[in-house]
Symmetry: C2
Subunit: 498 residues, 2 copies
C-alpha cells in the first residue's frame, strides 16, 4: 500500500496497452520516482492526482536500441551517386567525412536534434553506440570521455534515458592498413578501454544516483524490485569483428561480464565483413563468438543480416539478442534481416534507428515483416501459426503479429540495452507515449485492431504525449525546448555544409 | 498581362520547388480560376494579394495515381495469419468480404476518410480505380453510377481533384467459375460498360464545367493552354487481363482512345496472373497489349512487378506509364517493381497508395529506391550516372535521385491520370503543399539537400498547407471538416466490425 505522504499520479487514457492487449478504463499510477505502482480501475481509492487523457491510447515508450546520433547531420546528404556502384562502403566514406568535422559542442547539438526527434516519435530510451572518442587527429581530449559526456548531456537535456554503449575500436580490419579517418574512434588496447570505461561509469553513475533518489524509490519486495530506474548507464560495444582483434574482444567481454554490462556489437551487416572474419578466424562472426563463449543474455548482435539458419541456434542457446535496424539497412543496402529464422529459434529481436536516415521505430517494426513479404511473396510471415499455442498471453488473432513487432520496439529493446522500461507493468518505469485515437492514420480502430493500425500505419501526427519516469517530455506533440534545439541544429548544419 | 479587374494571389514561401530545384524569394501567383499565372520575384508589381509563408518550402501537390478508397476500412484488419501460407490471394478474400458490406453512404464515408488523409499528406489529385458498381447481390442501383458518384462527391467535399477510373470487370478469370464475391464489380459486356461510362461522363462533366467557369479561366495563347483545370474527370480501367476477355478489352480501349481518356489496368501484380495470361493468350500481359496495339501514352500499367527486361521496351516505345504502389506491394507480398529497368528504358513511373495500408506517397517514392537497394545490396540504384548528361534540368548531384523520385510522386502521376497539376509552372493548376522547414524530420536542410531530406525523411507533422487550384484545403496541418469526417468514419467502422 502507498503511504499517505507519497504523491501518486494516475494517468487515465481511454485505452491502455498492457500484457499484449488494450484495456479500457485502466489507469496507470506512478510514484514520484517515476515507477509504476498500480495498473488499476480503482484509482479513485488512491490519493492520486488524476490526469485524464480522453481520445488517447497509452502505450509503453519505444526503446531505440541502436543509435549513432551524430549521423543525423548527413540525413539527405548521401542519397546520390558518388561512384559507379554505390554501397555501404562508399556511404561510409561520406559518413567519416562528417564525423571528422564535429566539435564536442557540435556533437551535443547533433545528438540533441536526434534525441528530440526520437522523443517526438514516442521513443523514451536509447542505446547510443558511441565511437567518437578523440579529437579529429586522434589526440585524446583532456577529459578522454568528453564526447561521450556530450552525448549523455544531450539525452538528459531532451529527457530520454540513455545507455551509453562505449565502443572499442582498434583497427581498420584484418590485414588492413590504419585508416586516418578512423583516428577519432581508436583505443588501441583493452586496458585503456577498460580504464576509460571505468572513468565514464564513475562519472555518470554519480549523476544517476543523485537523480534517482528523488522521491521514495526504495525497493519493494516485488519481484521487479531489481529494476533500477536509472536514466543514464554504460554498456560496452566492441565495434565489430573487423575492428577489434580477438584478444582485445575477449578482454572487453570479460570486463563487461564482470560488471554485468550490456554488450553490443555490429555483426554481419555486410557480406564482406563475414568473409573477412572467415579469412581471419576460419568461422563466421556468430560461430566465432559462440566458440569463444562470448554470447550471453547481455549480448546483442546488431544487424545480423547475413546469418545462416544454423547460426541462429547459437544466439538462441545463449539467450542473446539481435538488434535489427531496417530503415537504415534498406538505406545502406545491407539486406534483409532473417527475422523469421530468429523468431523460429526464439531469439528476441530489438530495433534501432541507427543512422537516422529516418527516425520512426514503428516503421522499423513494420519493415521487419514487410521486407520478408517482399522476399518471399507471402503475407503474415512473422505471425504465429493459427493453430499453434501462442506463448504470448492475451493477444488475439487480429493483433498477434502486431504484438510481436511491437515487442521488438519496446520490451525486447529494453532488455537489450538494460532499460527499466519497455512494458507497462507494476515496478517498471512509467515511460509511455500516447496516440490520438482521432488521428487520420489510425482513426476508426477499436481495441482489437488498434495495435495493428498503430504498428502498420501510425503517422507522427498521432503521437501526442511522451513521458519518461512519469514526467512529460512531449506535450501535444511538442517538446518544450524544440525551437531552440532546431535553431541550434540548423546553425550547425549551415556551419558544416555551406 | 493581367487585367486590372482580375484578382491575383501571390504565395511567397521561403523556398519554392520548380524545374527540379528550390528557388529562394520566388512567388507563385495564381488567378481566381486556380491557374498559375506567374512564378516571379517581382510579385509586387502585380496587383496581387500577397500571402507570406515564412519558414515554409512550397512544392507541387502530390498525385496519387492509384487508389481503391474503400479499402481504407480494412486498414489494420488483415495483418494476421488466416491460412498456413498467406498471400495476396488470401488477403483478397478479406478485402472482398469488406467490399460486400458497404452501402453507398458507407462508401462515401470511407472514401472521404481516405481522401482526407491524402490531403493531409500533400496529395492534391487522385486516380480512383473504381470497381464497386452494383448492390452486393449484383443488381444495378437505380442510378447505375451511384457508387462512382459517391466517391466523386467524397473527393469534391474534401477538395481533391479526382480521375474516376471506371472499371470494366467481366469474370473471375480464364477458365474460372464466376465468383459471387465479385458480383458488385461485373459489367458483362463492353456495350453496357461504354453506355454507363458515357452517362457518368455526362453527369460529371456538367458539374465540372460549372465549377471551372468561376473566375477568368479563358485559355491563353500559352502553349500550356490545353491544360484544362478540371476537378473531376473520367478514365477507364479494364481491371486486368484476368478479369476482362480480349474482345471486351479491345472495345474498352477503342472507346477510351476515341475519347482521349486515360486507361489504367492492373498488370503483372502476381506471378499467377502472368501465368494465366500465358496460358490463355500465349503471351505475357505486356506482350499481349503491345501485340494488340493497346499501349499508348494514355495507358498506365499498374504494379508491373513481374515484368521481364525486354517487356519494358514495349512500354517505352508506346510512351506508356507504369504506376508502382510500393507500400501496398510490400503489404500484399507482391514483390519489387523493377523501376531500374523502367528508368533505363525511359518509362515514366507514377505512384499510388492503392490499398491504403498507409497513405504516404513520399514513403512510396523512397521505397522505389529502397526495395532495389535491398534486392541488389547497393545504394543510389536509381540515381543518374555521375558522368551521364542528365535529361533533367537544374538538378544538381545531391538531389538528382530525389528529384527523379519526386517526379514519380508528382508530374508522372499527373500525366498518368490526366491531371492539370504535378509541377509549378505557368499555365498549370496551382496545386501545392508546404512543408515546415523547422519540422524535426527535415530541420537543418538547405536548398541543395532539402529535396532528398523531404523525399527520404519527411514526417507528416511537416506538411502544413495544402492547396488545390489556389484554395487551401489544409491549413496548419488540419482540414476544415476533419473532425466530422473522422467521426463519421469511426461510426462506420463500429457498424462494420462490431
Amino acid at each position: 500500500m502507498q503511504r499517505a505522504d507519497e504523491t501518486l499520479t494516475a494517468w487515465l487514457p481511454e485505452l491502455l496497452y498492457t500484457e499484449g492487449r488494450f484495456e479500457r478504463g485502466l489507469a496507470l499510477v506512478c510514484d514520484e520516482a517515476g515507477r509504476i505502482t498500480h495498473l488499476t480501475r480503482d484509482y479513485q481509492t488512491l490519493a492520486a492526482r488524476v490526469i485524464r487523457l480522453s481520445d488517447r491510447a497509452l502505450l509503453p515508450g519505444l526503446v531505440n536500441a541502436h543509435s549513432h546520433s551524430f549521423q543525423r547531420v548527413i540525413r539527405g546528404r548521401t542519397e546520390h551517386r558518388v561512384a559507379a556502384r554505390d554501397s555501404f562502403w562508399t556511404w561510409r566514406e561520406q559518413m567519416y567525412a562528417a564525423a571528422l568535422r564535429l566539435t564536442p559542442e557540435d556533437l551535443y547539438d547533433a545528438a540533441r536534434m536526434a534525441f528530440l526527434e526520437m522523443a517526438l516519435t514516442g521513443i523514451t530510451a536509447v542505446g547510443e553506440f558511441h565511437y567518437l572518442h578523440h579529437a579529429p587527429d586522434g589526440t585524446p581530449y583532456d577529459d578522454p570521455n568528453l564526447l561521450a559526456k556530450e552525448v549523455v548531456r544531450a539525452a538528459r537535456d531532451v529527457g530520454l534515458r540513455i545507455a551509453l554503449l562505449r565502443v572499442a575500436y582498434a583497427r581498420a580490419g584484418f590485414e588492413m592498413q590504419p585508416n586516418q579517418q578512423q583516428a577519432r574512434f581508436i583505443e588501441h588496447d583493452a586496458q585503456r578501454f577498460s580504464k576509460q570505461t571505468d572513468e565514464l561509469r564513475r562519472a555518470l553513475m554519480c549523476d544517476t544516483t543523485n537523480e534517482n533518489t528523488t522521491g521514495n524509490a526504495k525497493a519493494s519486495s516485488d519481484e521487479r524490485a531489481d529494476v533500477l530506474l536509472k536514466h543514464v548507464w554504460v554498456g560496452v560495444a566492441p565495434h565489430s569483428i573487423r575492428a577489434v582483434p580477438l584478444d582485445y574482444l575477449r578482454e572487453v567481454c570479460a570486463y563487461a561480464r564482470a560488471a554485468a554490462l550490456p554488450v553490443h556489437m555490429h555483426i554481419a551487416e555486410q557480406p564482406a565483413e563475414v568473409a573477412a572474419c572467415q579469412r581471419e578466424h576460419g568461422r563466421t562472426p556468430i560461430a566465432l563468438l559462440a566458440n569463444e563463449d562470448l554470447l550471453d543474455a547481455r549480448f546483442t548482435a546488431v544487424h545480423a543480416v547475413h546469418v545462416k539458419p544454423d547460426e541462429t541456434c547459437a544466439l538462441a542457446q545463449a539467450c542473446a539478442h539481435v538488434c535489427a535496424c531496417p530503415t537504415t539497412e534498406r538505406n545502406l543496402g545491407d539486406g534483409i534481416v532473417p527475422v523469421d529464422l530468429f523468431f523460429a529459434a526464439g531469439v528476441p529481436v530489438a530495433l534501432g534507428t541507427d543512422s537516422h536516415a529516418q527516425i520512426d521505430l514503428l516503421e522499423d517494426a513494420r519493415e521487419l515483416e514487410y521486407h520478408l513479404r517482399l522476399q518471399k511473396l507471402e503475407r503474415a510471415v512473422l505471425a504465429p501459426q493459427p493453430n499453434a499455442t501462442s506463448g504470448e498471453p492475451h493477444t488475439d488473432q487480429l493483433s498477434a503479429l502486431a504484438a510481436r513487432l511491437f515487442a521488438c520496439a519496446t520490451i525486447n529493446g529494453a532488455r537489450s540495452i538494460g532499460a527499466p522500461s519497455g512494458a507497462l507493468a507494476v515496478g517498471r518505469a512509467a515511460d509511455f507515449f500516447t496516440v490520438d485515437l482521432n488521428d487520420p492514420s489510425i482513426a476508426g480502430a477499436n481495441e482489437t485492431d488498434l495495435l495493428p493500425a498503430i504498428v502498420f500505419a501510425l503517422a507522427r501526427t498521432g503521437v501526442r504525449e511522451v513521458a519518461v519516469g512519469g514526467r512529460l517530455v512531449v506535450q501535444d506533440g511538442q517538446h518544450q525546448a524544440q525551437t531552440q534545439i532546431v535553431e541550434r541544429f540548423a546553425r550547425l548544419q549551415r556551419t558544416l555544409w555551406q
